[in-house]
């Protein structure tokens, strides 16, 4: 029953500005192949913030880099992945410019050719925005055109993402020049305005200072200003607050919130900090060893975590269990996903592991029947089914997924 609805809901994600579907990114080294991201799917609506949370090495940053097209050899985004970007303006503009890459959709909504810009038949000029660019398949020149102006990224360490030999103003102006064709005094004015917008005092003066002359929090503000200089639709923040102390973290989160309200930005927020994620995200994806193991609205996730891993993460937040003598931790490390998953990757560390966990790969299912906005990849769920029932549902989904490789199973919650 839910199977049907899952299939049907594929069409429902047309409203999302960015849909990541079955993203698989692998690194091919001489020794082994590492599936750093293994089948991640999520949707991002305009004006929404989604969080991606997980331990170090769970594939969060690789997900972000895959979206930006920054995966370098020996890494590669595997076939079958898709990253659909649906900003009508950009689709239209790029469709005009790269007409050779345009493919139209047939009646079933499937693209007829293998071009990376997919438009609806009849929707002339894609005016209705009924089309998308698949960044996972797009040639470099198209991906490059979406960088910055469409999707911008903020990196973890604000000091190292600014070039130390140029003044802050120089670097912001470089971006402005690239994306808004501003130069000279106009660019200087705009750069000062941007710095003011991100809350840097004495912005004119600050333009002529070097990155090392700023404090950590100010640097991150500068980096945000640089990202805003591109005027993006989607902002990917890769642990933007990790290098900052707590009070500054809060300020930066507030800043991002304000900017989002002002500009209707869609934000993908990546962090390992559960506290930060609770504050900023509307919906949270929990990542483990390259897979998204749980997706839920932030509130649901914190009140009613389903996956044992999510529960472990929440328990290890200091202060959540004030009576505990020692901080609760999850034993062990994130395994290196160097083989396609055939079992639950969390099983070795899972307190609730049972026999089937090492034999069946859990697929994303509703946490309980009907809970469409809360999905879990764990054999214990859906929780209102018997264990055997649940396991067989996962098995079935797994087989279906293999057969229709490039159509991932999607649920309501992943939008």
């Amino acid at each position: 029953m839910s199977q049907q609805r899952v299939r049907g809901s594929t069409r429902g994600n047309e409203g999302a500005i960015l849909s990541v579907e079955n993203l698989r990114t692998a690194f091919f080294t001489d020794k082994e192949t590492i599936y750093a991201v293994d089948g991640a799917s999520f949707d991002l609506q305009k004006g929404e913030t989604i969080g991606i949370v997980g331990e170090s090495g769970s594939g969060k940053s690789v997900t972000a880099r895959s979206i930006m097209g920054l995966i370098e050899s020996p890494g590669r985004v595997l076939d079958g992945s898709s990253i659909k970007y649906r900003n009508a303006d950009a689709v239209e503009r790029l469709a005009e410019e790269f007409s050779g890459e345009v493919t139209y959709r047939d009646g079933n909504g499937e693209p007829e050719g293998d071009g990376c810009i997919v438009l609806d038949e009849g929707a002339e000029g894609a005016a209705g925005g009924r089309g998308y660019i698949d960044l996972a398949h797009a040639p470099k020149k198209i991906v490059k055109r979406t960088r910055g102006g469409e999707i911008a990224m903020i990196f973890q360490d604000p000091l190292s993402s600014l070039n130390p030999v140029y003044t802050v103003g120089n670097q912001i102006k470089e971006t402005l020049n690239l994306h808004r064709d501003l130069s000279g005094t106009n660019a200087t004015d705009e750069a000062a305005e941007l710095l003011e917008a991100v809350g840097i005092p004495d912005a004119r003066m600050a333009l002529n200072e070097y990155p090392h002359q700023f404090s950590g929090g100010q640097r991150q503000r500068v980096v945000i200003a640089m990202a805003l200089a591109c005027d993006p639709e989607v902002l990917i923040c890769d642990e933007p607050t990790t290098a900052l102390d707590v009070t500054i973290q809060a300020q930066i989160l507030d800043l991002l919130d304000d900017i989002q309200d002002e500009r209707d930005l869609a934000i993908v927020f990546i962090t390992h900090d559960m506290g930060v994620i609770s504050e900023i995200s509307d919906r949270v994806n929990v990542m483990y060893a390259g897979e998204i193991v749980e997706t839920a609205p932030a509130e649901t996730l914190f009140l009613d975590p389903a996956h044992p891993y999510t529960r472990g993460l929440l328990e290890s937040i200091p202060g959540r269990n004030p009576d505990a003598e020692r901080l609760t931790t999850i034993e062990g490390d994130v395994p290196t996903p160097n083989q396609p998953a055939t079992q639950c990757r969390f099983a070795p560390r899972c307190p609730e592991e049972f026999d089937a966990c090492t034999q069946v790969h859990p697929e994303s299912v509703e946490s309980s029947d009907g809970a469409t906005d809360h999905t879990v990849a764990c054999l214990l769920y859906p929780e209102d089914r018997s264990r055997e029932d649940a396991v067989s549902l996962h098995e079935r989904r797994g087989r279906d997924g293999d057969e229709t490789d490039d159509e991932p199973t999607r649920t309501e919650a992943q939008r």
Binding site: K144, S161, R204
Partner: protein, 467 residues
Amino acid sequence: MTMSQKLTQEDEGIGSRIRSNPRPALIWVVGALALLALEFGAIVQLVTSTVPGVGAIELPTLLTRELIPNQGYQLPNGSWQGTFLGLSPAIAWLLRVVLVYAYAFVWVAWVWYGYLTFRRNYRFADWTPTDDRIDRLRGHRWGQFGFIVVFAFVMFAMFAPALGPTTLQGNIIDPYSNDVSYYDEEVGEVATVTVGTANLASQSRGNPDQNYGLWSYDPYDRFHPAGTISNGKDMFTFLVFGARISLFIAMSATLIAGGIAFVLAMVTAYYKGLADLVTVVASDAFSSIPLVLLLIMLSVVLRNTWIASLYNGAVILVLIFGLFFWPGYWRTVRGPAFQTVENEWIDAAKSYGQSPLTLMRKHIAPYVIGYLLIYASLGLGGIIISTSALSYLGLGITAPTPEWGRLVALGQAYVPTVSWHISIIPGLAIVLVVTGFNALGDGIRDAIDPESEGSTEGGTAAAGGGG
């Protein structure tokens, strides 16, 4: 501090800053123009003489042999005719040399003063990373020694016509078409003789009767600051023009090799993978060819072709050195380049859509060019030695064009005799210049990369990549 704060409010670039406070800039520009005017003719001549086919353009210049002549003859009463103010040729020549070097060092001081003026009055930032580098170089005695030696050598080559006690054309290339006046004591009057004939009487042949060593006059009253060589030609003139050709070869070859290495370093660091692999293989192929053997072979094979006669064989040497020195430079800067590319600001620049070319130029090149400067400086010495070694073997630069290595070869037989200067002086000069270039390279390295101080070099930090 207050200066820059005040300027902040209405900053519109350096032009407006100069307009608002033009005095220091004007002082500097006027001084620089005055300095330039003194020797403008010499610079024009230097430039035009290196461009083939144009020929040297002569303009009136201060500090020339015409203004301070050192060529004259001594009358029996001991007074000198034809020299500057009747001074002895040694003094007149020395005066000219001192003036030339004083002029050169005044220029250095003026440029330094200009930089300080800019820093004090016009630069917007209170501090830039360059300040630290210069400060480190200021406390670096070994590097300063290198700078002075290199600078003196470059001036030696640049002002060659003014520094030599006699001219290249008159004394070395075409001695039988030029005359020298002297006072013939037997006849009791002034007579002239061709330079070639005079040179026969001023040979340094290794026996006390026939040797004109350092700081000596020959029978025709010509002054030889560094003595004469075995065929009687003036060695100092030989040395200054030899420096010219050495410097030309070393600089041009380094420019070519460094240029190739730089472009390849950018491309391989940015694209990695296949581009890197191909370059590694190509550089290995080039490095596996024994350069000296190849040079000897090509010198012989190309001996009578048109390309070998360009600038007396210098051009072909430049091309060979340029083509075979890049693998070394490229390997040393590949590491730093790869390291730079790993920085997050590169990804950040990529993530907002910067084009590869701008990315290389703006975000990678500044970090690589410093290393290239170090190795270029070290490599210059190597090229000078190689050129000299070829001349020593009788290859490379063709006679009669002066080349230091040929002097070493010429004087080899006289080393244990009174004419030791023919070999020893140019030999020591080569050692000094090469040491100077190395010292300068060390200085630059310590200035731009203080962390590498004491370690062998910065190129070992090759970040692994590609695959």
